[in-house]
């Protein structure tokens, strides 16, 4: 039989490039060392930017599960980011809760919100989800703007930085390493999900809903799982974001935020973890490089997104390895 192409995987061809355990361990070691020394190379401003990029890696990995794996368009992802941030902000400021107790509460709330929004809409045509999530994103932002508890338009300030086994996480460098750890955990969880029963089911439902149902897969339940897992990623990202900055305001969770995260997922390559990481770095680093362009930056991104969709829908990261 003729040689058939390898199918694209979550690793986007990296698996064939790094085909022996030795090569893989070497690659992992290089990445870890690079992550560890990066702050000393790029200086304090660079560290802040990198931390932000890592936050985006985490958020984009979460949205990638919804969009890249399950094929659902979520235009209000920032809402879950907000749920995480505000839960930590409110419970630590108003109720004096410890960050590590607020975190699971944030996750729980994100799960509830994900189910409330997802369960009814995921039964309908998939495009309805896009609009409903857009509406939900706005509901969350407007609510945050108008409640006393969320500090209104000016938001919340003075959120405490957390302690971890006697380590007070407070300097930008501390948070850089925390976000490194979160991004690594995010990647591990994403990979494991992709290679699981549920991960396969997302792809089945995405490629052919009817055939998937004929195989005994409950499409609503499976999509809801993707949506809720994405929500959890968003919420965890939001919780640490709040702890890092110590201050949050509704405008951090606007439609534009949702769009930027979505761009990170699509520009690099939906469904492919290296692509999503690349996309997150592009979205955060490009504005730094395009600083002189001012308002034009967003237009450049928008045009880039359109061109990607028209000419290279699989994203910048190569779809499959050439062997």
């Amino acid at each position: 039989m003729a040689q058939f192409p390898e199918r694209p995987s979550a690793w986007g061809g990296l698996a064939t490039l790094l085909d022996t355990p030795q090569k893989r361990y070497a690659a992992i070691a290089v990445i870890l060392v690079a992550m560890a020394v990066a702050p000393y190379i790029f200086g304090s401003y660079g560290t802040v930017i990198l931390t932000n990029a890592l936050l985006y890696v985490l958020l984009a990995l979460g949205l990638n599960i919804v969009v890249g794996y399950a094929g659902l368009l979520d235009l209000g992802f920032a809402a879950f980011f907000a749920v995480g941030a505000y839960t930590v902000g409110i419970t630590t400021l108003h109720f004096g809760l410890n960050f590590w107790l607020a975190l699971p509460l944030a996750v729980l709330l994100a799960i509830v919100a994900g189910i409330v929004i997802g369960a009814p809409t995921l039964r309908l045509r998939s495009d309805y989800l896009a609009i409903v999530t857009l509406g939900f994103g706005e509901i969350v932002r407007i609510t945050a703007r108008n409640l006393r508890e969320t500090g209104g338009a000016s938001g919340l300030i003075g959120i405490d930085s957390p302690w971890l086994f006697g380590w007070h996480i407070r300097t930008p460098l501390d948070f850089y390493y925390v976000f490194c750890a979160l991004a690594i955990l995010g990647v591990i969880a994403s990979v494991r999900l992709a290679n699981s029963r549920l991960g396969r089911a997302w792809l089945y439902v995405r490629h052919d809903e009817d055939a998937a149902e004929a195989m005994g897969i409950n499409r609503v339940k499976v999509k809801l799982a993707a949506y809720v897992v994405g929500a959890i990623y968003g919420s965890i990202g939001g919780a640490f974001f709040a702890a890092n900055l110590g201050a949050i305001s509704p405008e951090s969770f606007s439609f534009r935020q949702s769009v930027l995260i979505l761009m990170a997922v699509i520009l690099g390559g939906m469904g492919k973890i290296p692509g999503v990481i690349l996309g997150a770095f592009i979205v955060i680093l490009a504005p730094e490089l395009l600083r002189d362009f001012g308002d034009l930056r967003l237009l450049i991104f928008a045009v880039g997104l359109l061109l990607i969709m028209l000419f290279r829908p699989s994203g910048i990261w190569p779809a499959r390895s050439k062997r």
């Binding site: 052919d208 195989m215 005994g216």
Partner: protein, 259 residues
């Protein structure tokens, strides 16, 4: 004792009757064929049985359990598997992954199990893989498991689809025109495969097929559907000599029953 029982199943779309009070049954342990001219409603009947269409009236029971209100995935869980008229394998996924889909409803690992790689999850993955490999070997596909399924030759794709249906461990297997597009050599292999599925795995077979030669050789019972009405039911011999059946087929050009 019949495994599948349909009573008075009626289905209409936008006012036009597709199925009209269809009574139909599949006896346990048999290979049954459903034939009829194009547009007779055969695939619609399949879609009613598998929960994709909701008949307005009637009752559909599998081994006594009413399935009329069930969704497709629940029907599959009860033990009915199907293939599609135009092969519908999952694109961009390997042959093995395609077949692994069948075990989804028989397993339960969720998000947490997967993220933590719990021992139970790993055992389940091994088992899913083992069953998928066994089903593929059973249909005669012993290589190319890691290839993208939709790049396989057509005849192979048909067999992968059957393997995928077998992986749901069904009691009843519905095949929608399994011989369409196959070469005569492949048709012989298909007849052999369908017999083995019934004999070795004790799975009841219901097939829709246009190749009447194949139907007459393979089936033990034949039912004939015409314009949404079940017009005859019997052994292949009885059907071949049934006047109404002959008329139904003669009434339709280009689709004469090749008896």
């Amino acid at each position: 004792m019949s495994l599948l029982d349909l009573k008075g199943v009626s289905l209409s779309f936008a006012g036009s009757k597709v199925l009209d009070a269809v009574d139909f049954s599949v006896p346990a342990g048999r290979i049954v064929s459903l034939i009829g001219p194009n547009g007779a409603g055969k695939t619609s009947l399949f879609n009613c049985i598998t929960g994709f269409y909701k008949p307005q009236q009637g009752s559909i029971r599998l081994d006594g359990t009413e399935m009329l209100k069930l969704k497709p995935h629940q029907v599959t869980q009860l033990g009915i598997a199907r293939t599609f008229q135009n092969v519908r394998l999952f694109r961009e996924m390997t042959v093995l992954e395609n077949v692994m889909s069948g075990q989804h409803s028989r397993t339960r690992a969720g998000v947490i199990d997967a993220i933590l790689r719990l021992p139970s999850q790993r055992r389940e993955e091994v088992e899913i893989r083992r069953i998928a490999e066994e089903c593929l070997s059973f249909v005669g596909i012993t290589e190319g498991w890691e290839r993208e399924a939709t790049t396989l030759p057509y005849g192979w794709q048909r067999r992968v689809e059957i393997a995928r249906a077998l992986a749901t461990t069904p009691r009843l297997l519905l095949l929608d025109e399994p011989a369409a597009g196959l070469t005569s050599g492949e048709k012989e292999e298909l007849i052999e495969l369908i017999r083995r599925i019934r004999n070795e795995r004790d799975i009841c077979i219901l097939l829709i097929e246009h190749d009447t030669g194949l139907v007459m050789r393979l089936s033990e019972r034949v039912s004939v559907l015409d314009h949404g009405v079940m017009i005859a039911e019997g052994t292949p011999k009885e059907i071949q000599s049934n006047q109404r059946v002959i008329e139904a087929y003669l009434g339709v050009e280009e689709d004469a029953l090749d008896l």
